[in-house]
């Protein structure tokens, strides 16, 4: 599925690239290497363009009842089957930009190194800055640049997996594009969806963006070391999130100081064993 099906878009709007640490050039926006363009017209159909000269006689009503997200959901299920067969726990990490997803991942990857094999798929509109930070921890990472797209879709993850080749029993973090709206609708085949909010945001985020909280199984509240300086009530945030989804669990952490991180690792270990 392509983000924009208009015919004015050049090929390769979405790029997926394996990050090679040797090529990482910190501080600079490096042009992506080994780009595999997820061809804009790489569909299994032809675009039938607006009416040619001939007009078919009569009208036909087709009752099709087709799920609009059907193609994405089907591909997501294929990814899910792959994860199940290889006993991989895949997590879809969603949040607003700046909630500290990448910092949380950096710390997690460093702390779990040697214990659990970890892989990362990074989604951003532009640059490989986040993937470069992840690559610096030694973890295998693939960057998906969505171009104008504001969310990851199952086919992009599928393509990224072919490059990443995660091992059996590993942990895969999929860092979605920073956006609390659009990624909510697109299943990637993940085992669980984790929404991250930070205390520098409003504690009413769950009410403002209910779709995302409704579809998440875990809510991480990050940057709790800053609680003394901001007007954020952890209790209120939890209460609001529970109005939207009563199955959501909460873990409060500071990815900077490490506070609360052990509970997150316990959650990961438990999920992996499940």
């Amino acid at each position: 599925m392509c983000g924009i099906c208009g015919c004015g878009q050049p090929n390769g709007a979405v790029t997926i690239s394996k990050i090679d640490l040797k090529r990482v050039n910190f501080g600079k926006v490096t042009p992506l290497q080994e780009v595999s363009p997820l061809g804009h017209h790489d569909h299994d159909h032809h675009h039938v363009h607006a009416p040619a000269a001939k007009q078919a006689p009569g009208k036909t009503v087709l009752q099709i009842e087709q799920d609009i997200l059907g193609k994405n959901n089907l591909l997501a299920e294929r990814n899910r089957g792959y994860f199940e067969a290889k006993n991989i726990l895949a997590l879809n990490l969603v949040s607003s930009p700046g909630s500290g997803k990448t910092a949380l991942l950096e710390r997690t990857l460093a702390d779990l190194k040697g214990e659990i094999p970890c892989y990362v798929i990074e989604g951003d509109q532009q640059t490989s800055n986040d993937a470069d930070r992840i690559a610096a921890t030694g973890a295998e990472v693939v960057q998906i640049n969505t171009g104008k797209g504001c969310h990851l879709e199952a086919d992009m993850v599928n393509e990224a997996l072919r490059q990443l080749k995660p091992t059996d029993g590993s942990l895969l973090f999929i860092e979605n594009v920073g956006n609390l709206v659009c990624p909510a609708m697109f299943d990637l085949g993940e085992g669980a969806r984790v929404v991250i909010i930070s205390v520098t945001e409003g504690d009413d985020k769950p009410l403002k963006y209910p779709d995302m909280f409704h579809s998440s199984q875990l809510c991480i509240i990050n940057k709790i070391d800053l609680l003394p300086y901001v007007n954020f009530s952890v209790e209120k945030a939890k209460e609001y999130a529970q109005r939207v989804s009563h199955i959501t669990e909460f873990i409060e952490v500071s990815a900077t100081t490490g506070q609360g991180m052990e509970r997150w690792y316990e959650w990961l270990r438990k999920r992996r064993g499940a």
């Binding site: 924009i4 099906c5 675009h47 363009h49 607006a50 009208k59 997200l69 779709d211 409704h214």
Partner: protein, 126 residues
């Protein structure tokens, strides 16, 4: 695609545009299967809890369907209101937002019965 409009559209209404592009793919496949030329009208079922902003869908539609079989298609959207069943007292109630409490007992624990629909119901092709 109207080039000048594209950046504005993609930054504001991208997932609706993505939804429109999926609708276009479904319509093109059906038109091809039926050996038709174009779509005269399309019927969509969209639930009010499906995560679609109706005004954004309207805004992006013209650009999203331009130069496709849906270019001049009439669009009929059946908006399906949200409905939920309270998990505590089993009351069935209209749900406008995912955080609406049960009007009888005030509980936030409920199961959505309607409002998540997102489908192409029918196409009239010629």
């Amino acid at each position: 695609m109207a080039r000048g409009l594209a950046p504005l559209l993609t930054s504001r209404t991208m997932h609706e545009l993505s939804i429109i592009s999926s609708i276009v793919q479904i319509a093109e496949a059906e038109v091809e299967k039926a050996g038709a030329q174009r779509v005269e009208s399309i019927e969509l079922d969209i639930g009010e809890l499906a995560g679609i902003e109706f005004s954004a869908l309207d805004f992006a539609w013209e650009v999203g369907v331009s130069q496709t079989v849906l270019e001049s298609a009439e669009r009929h959207i059946h908006r399906i209101g949200g409905e939920a069943r309270c998990s505590e007292c089993e009351t069935v109630f209209d749900m406008q937002a995912l955080y609406d409490p049960c009007p009888s007992c005030g509980s936030f624990f409920s199961e959505i019965l309607k409002g998540k629909e997102l489908s192409v119901k029918a196409l009239t092709v010629t």
